[in-house]
């Protein structure tokens, strides 16, 4: 009697264990042909192994902790009818799927993958094509988004969505993704403590990366190339921007990095190359710029106003049309120990620091700031002459805006 009970209990437990580790296979010729069926049959912590094939499904709801594992990139075609996958449970993993043809709706923002109010999700190795929004994280936290390829076909800003969007989401890790041809590559709104690393965001219509009201985030070693504008950081605090590359964001209204109402940020070791404006700064205070390279930009740094106590230290300014543009006579920002390729001073005591301070603001850049139309006189002889005379004795540009210790050799 006792032993029979024990046996029964053991059997019960065993089946329980096997159920919790069960793998359900979905394929076009299997018993279970659709992903929705598979999810309905699965219980918590099961794995759905989806074999290679095409699945014409949309509005797939994952409301229990499951792992969806694709084998040979199964294609899930939303047929442009709506959202493809919506996750409302914690601990969900999506791996190795190919999602295509997301519907377009201007009221519901359809996404290929939408995570709603969930924790500990892992989204990796997805390929997304023909999408409206790519991966949309809504009030979700402590998740990871890794190694995804998002390839959009956006044509204009108002009728396209973002690659990866975070909305009220905290502690999310976004790494090694490749995002192209969408509106904003990565968009963070009210997303704090996120870390964004080694992503590539190119050829997007608007921004490569866009922050709004998001604090304490870190982005590192990303590449932003040839976007409408590289990165826009707005109304955010304590953002760390390290070792990123901002390249070829070139166009009449383009820039590598826009800072608007940013306080206490750190911008270190970034490379700005061939942007119309390297960094455009507006209303940003206590920001540290250190060891950045500004190479061949139109304007390396354009300060538009209300910027106080910023420090520019040990940066390299190489062959920019304008190094610094400034629109007021008051200066509270500090430039020190930068290398300026246009510096013509000398170093008699050979300590590597120029003996004559460098004034990075040219008169012409001041004039252009005041009256933008005057830019058409660029590269005329007259402009060279007035720039020279202003360099000799500053009248219009802030006379305390100078680098007292310009370096003779480039920082490495």
């Amino acid at each position: 009697m006792n032993s029979a009970k024990l046996l029964l209990l053991t059997a019960y437990l065993l089946t329980g264990l096997t159920v919790s580790a069960r793998t359900i296979t979905v394929c076009n010729s299997c018993e279970i042909r659709t992903i929705k069926e598979g999810i309905a049959l699965a219980s918590d912590f099961d794995t759905l192994l989806i074999k290679k094939g095409t699945y014409n499904e949309y509005d797939i709801l994952i409301d229990k902790p499951l792992t969806l594992l694709g084998e040979g990139y199964p294609k899930i075609d939303g047929q442009r009818k709506g959202e493809i996958i919506r996750v409302t449970a914690d601990n969900v993993t999506l791996d190795g799927l190919f999602l295509v043809n997301v519907g377009t709706s201007y009221t519901r923002d359809y996404a290929a993958v939408r995570i709603v109010k969930s924790k500990n999700f892992l989204i990796k190795n997805l390929v997304l094509e023909k999408l409206f929004f790519g991966i949309y994280l809504e009030k979700s936290s402590h998740g990871q988004v890794l190694y995804n390829r998002i390839i959009g076909d956006a044509v204009n800003e108002h009728s396209s969505g973002n690659g990866i969007q975070l909305w009220y989401s905290q502690n999310v890790v976004i790494e090694d993704n490749y995002i192209t041809h969408v509106r904003d590559g990565i968009y963070l709104e009210f997303a704090n403590n996120c870390s964004i690393k080694r992503n590539t965001s190119t050829n997007n219509l608007r921004y490569g990366l866009h922050f709004m009201f998001s604090n304490d985030d870190l982005y590192e070693e990303n590449v932003f190339e040839n976007n409408g504008a590289g990165v826009a950081v707005m109304f955010s605090k304590r953002i760390k921007m390290l070792n990123n590359t901002f390249k070829k964001n070139w166009g009449t209204a383009s820039y590598g990095l826009l800072l608007k109402e940013i306080n206490d940020a750190e911008i270190v070791g970034n490379n700005f190359e061939k942007n119309t404006i390297g960094i455009s700064i507006e209303g940003s205070n206590r920001v540290t710029y250190r060891k950045n390279d500004f190479n061949n930009n139109g304007w390396a740094i354009k300060v538009r106003g209300a910027c106080y106590t910023n420090n520019f230290i040990k940066n390299n300014f190489l062959h920019n049309s304008f190094d610094v543009s400034y629109n007021s006579k008051i200066n509270d920002n500090q430039f020190d120990q930068n290398y300026w390729s246009k510096y013509t001073g000398y170093d008699l005591d050979k300590d590597g620091i120029g003996d004559v301070p460098y004034r990075p603001v040219k008169l012409f850049s001041y004039v252009v700031n005041r009256t933008p139309e005057t830019i058409i006189l660029m590269r005329s002889l007259f402009i060279d002459i007035i720039d020279f005379s202003e360099k000799v004795s500053p009248v219009f540009t802030p006379d305390n805006l100078l680098d007292p210790h310009p370096l003779m050799k480039r920082n490495r």
């Binding site: 009449t252 009256t371 005057t374 660029m378 590269r379 007259f382």
Partner: protein, 260 residues
């Protein structure tokens, strides 16, 4: 006229200054291309040189040639040759030999560099065409000045003043008016003001063809819209042509009436 032209042309081609001018461009082209390795940057630097130096050289050469060949001109005047052909022939002789130095001096290094196979060929052709226009225009203006002034010193100083005005002072006045009237829409005004000065016009035409035009922002977009179209291009080249034709006509008119 052709005979005079030929004579003046060969006379100048044989002269030392022509060679110096040619060598200067040759050297400039070689240094820019082979020490720089960036074609777009080379074109920008060349533009700076062309819009400043070509008018200056054209003006000085024109005035110099007129005064130095004055005795020969008087000799020719005694012959049964039409006055207009003497002066126009001389003028074209100077202008063409200068243009040739420019074309050969800049063209050779660029051809060796492999320009014909690169896509910068259009930028470069535009550079040469505007350079030739500037030579024609400023030599004609110089001849005009020389025709009006018997006094060499006066002629020279007016010629230099003309160059100074076009290359520097005009832009200063332009800049001042832009700043003073900044509250008004200035697009049409700046378009017009650019059209009126051949140096500014050449500069803008070349700048708009280069990457750097993105820096021009909103104003640049207005200009791009204007000069980017076939109509705008036709209009700006007609402006350059008028700058060439008017002074040339005046040489013809003045030379007919002048007392010697």
């Amino acid at each position: 006229m052709l005979k005079i032209l030929k004579y003046s042309f060969y006379d100048l081609v044989r002269s030392r200054w022509s060679y110096v001018y040619l060598l200067f461009y040759l050297l400039l082209g070689i240094v820019l291309l082979f020490l720089n390795n960036d074609l777009s940057k080379a074109v920008i630097t060349l533009m700076n040189v062309i819009i400043v130096l070509v008018p200056l050289i054209g003006t000085i050469f024109g005035v110099m040639y007129y005064y130095s060949s004055k005795e020969f001109t008087e000799l020719l005047l005694a012959q049964p040759i039409r006055r207009s052909s003497i002066f126009l022939g001389q003028y074209l002789g100077v202008a063409l030999s200068l243009s040739m130095s420019l074309i050969i001096g800049l063209g050779l290094p660029f051809i060796f560099y492999g320009l014909l196979r690169s896509d910068a060929i259009w930028d470069f052709s535009l550079l040469l065409v505007t350079g030739i226009f500037l030579t024609l225009i400023f030599t004609a203006l110089a001849f005009n000045i020389a025709l009006y002034h018997e006094n060499k010193i006066k002629g020279f100083s007016y010629a230099i003043l003309l160059w100074l005005f076009m290359a520097v002072i005009y832009d200063g006045l332009f800049l001042m008016s832009l700043i003073i009237f900044e509250a008004y829409p200035l697009d049409t005004f700046s378009l017009g003001a650019t059209m009126l000065n051949p140096i500014d016009l050449s500069r803008i035409l070349i700048l708009l063809k280069l990457d750097i035009s993105a820096l021009l922002g909103y104003t640049g977009a207005v200009f791009q819209k204007f000069f980017g179209t076939a109509w705008g291009l036709v209009l700006s080249f007609s402006a350059l042509a008028i700058w060439f034709l008017l002074p040339t006509y005046n040489i013809y008119r003045k030379s007919k009436r002048k007392d010697f």
